[in-house]
Symmetry: C2
Subunit: 328 residues, 2 copies
């Protein structure tokens, strides 16, 4: 079932992707079947795969450079949550029938820019043509000191829940991109939309949380859902105080005009901030680590014995709006 | 852009995929963002990603267990070509809108069977819903002794070209599956079709080629194309003698009735045998290694200074039929 041949897969790899693997010895210029991650007795390799599909995880008319950045950054956000420093990635690119070489060139340029920004190199992958929508799967590799990788399962009762940056901009940005926030000023809409289109993974904060945090996850399903996932994996309950949730000025203005946006802010995804379970005694170390990389961190709740996620407003329990953004 | 929710992604992972990660410590039961491949000073990690799309790389009506096996095995075939022993894999499953839990259960059962067969464990991934066809991307990890991983680039002039097993069954099997080999007996058609539907990666032969072969690739694009890729990556020419190409009894009967199938046999893909560049002095070692794992190997040509792939029949040059099977 051959698709129409423009330039062949090998030429495409040689022209656009091999340059992205320059400098990663184990990729061997992408001429072989495998890449090889060199043995390193002092580090484990963190691994995460993320798939983004046109019309599901990014807008169908998104520019190629932005698709590249989004695909890579959602994966880098996961590595950050693991405490890992970016190392290399594999790319599976499923191009829609009718793809154009120009698009691939732009996509590769977007990858190249982010490779420089995050210090990561391509090390291999696959390229296919699909009768479906453009689909990009990235498997990213990061380095963590041996045995020190962070996950969701080790929060403890009494840990505080902290978040990086601001929450809700991703979900509000998606609403803005779909023309749903017309009451808001153009500048605010643009700021929010940019947050949705171009995640800013916390790649420097994540590794600095090793030895400080008990558990970390990134906010891809929404603050309530992702904090809830840490609680569930650690067999704990989590309580989040809404008045403590850090908001951007744009999000604050949106909520001031329309309180019904709160469920999107707390339950929408795509913030790509970190949610962090930290014991009270290590809070000063957390503050120092965040200051050192220039990222704000805010206490928003705590973990306790029990089950489930509980939302409060000035200490009074309120209904949890929804279980999280459902890409799935 | 939420898709219809049946069971959620977390429940799906817990029910069907977490059991597949049991026994792989670094997967942490799939409750965290990342998996961790433990540091190992004696081995490098071989990595390969392959994507298969319904209607492109497998038949749209293929059974879920077979889809699982094909997706995993094409990746295992690449690891074998690298000399790597299977270790773990990440799975990205893009389910079509309207997917059924029953299908996922069957798919997971197919993975479980092959995990036992090949000694590999799931260590993470992603699950999304796509408006397009079912798409499975697997990134497989294997272990190779440090610095010893095999690739395409190190063949040398004078090396002999050997292949494992038999060639052409995959391409003939696809023709059989599409009803194109009606002149052939039902048993032969079934044998060939099985070869297409269910690759047999050379996972035991591959690692035993370390220290013997200069270069190895798997036959996924067709013998001529894949031998040509070794030649190109090694900056050599390759000559293949058609009368030496090992054929199954079924393929021999097909060719006896229709000589025009030769281009499919030599240029079709999906054989998942290994093409091996070996110096003449190590041929006895190659024979021993192949015998030890119960796989036939056959000399089909040689590498020389120059460029390109040349096909001969009893020493006389004949036109190379086509450049390889074009999935792309």
């Amino acid at each position: 079932m051959p698709a129409r041949r423009r330039i062949g897969e090998f030429e495409l790899i040689a022209r656009y992707f091999a340059p992205l693997a320059r400098g990663f010895d184990g990729a061997g210029g992408l001429v072989s079947d495998n890449a090889f991650l060199a043995a390193d007795a002092r580090h484990d390799v963190a691994v995460k795969t993320d798939t983004v599909v046109a019309g599901v995880h990014f807008l169908v008319d998104e520019r190629a450079e932005r698709v590249a950045a989004k695909a890579l950054r959602v994966c880098l956000s996961d590595l950050a949550a693991g405490g890992a420093t970016p190392l290399a990635y594999q790319l599976s690119l499923a191009l829609p029938v009718g793809w154009r070489e120009r698009w691939v060139a732009d996509f590769a340029r977007g990858l190249a820019a982010d490779q420089r920004r995050y210090g990561i190199l391509l090390c291999g992958g696959d390229t296919v043509v699909t009768p479906g929508p453009l689909t990009v799967t990235i498997t990213a590799f990061g380095k963590v000191p041996r045995g020190k990788g962070l996950g969701r399962a080790d929060a403890r009762a009494g840990d505080e829940l902290w978040v990086s940056g601001t929450i809700g901009d991703g979900a509000l940005g998606l609403l803005a991109a779909r023309g749903k926030l017309g009451f808001l000023g153009a500048r605010d809409r643009k700021v929010l939309e940019e947050r949705y289109r171009l995640p800013q993974p916390r790649s420097r904060l994540g590794p600095s949380l090793i030895g400080i945090a008990h558990a970390v996850a990134d906010v891809s399903d929404g603050l309530l859902a992702d904090a809830g996932h840490i609680a569930a994996a650690s067999r704990l309950a989590v309580q989040i105080e809404r008045t403590q949730v850090p908001l951007s000025a744009s999000a604050r203005r949106a909520l001031a005009q329309d309180e019904s946006l709160w469920p999107s802010v707390l339950g929408g995804g795509d913030d790509y901030e970190l949610v962090i379970a930290v014991p009270p005694g290590r809070v000063p170390a957390l503050r120092d680590a965040a200051r050192a990389v220039g990222v704000g961190v805010t206490r928003v709740g705590r973990f306790a014995r029990g089950r489930g996620a509980r939302l409060t407003v000035e200490g009074r329990a309120v209904p949890v709006p929804r279980a999280g953004y459902v890409h799935f």
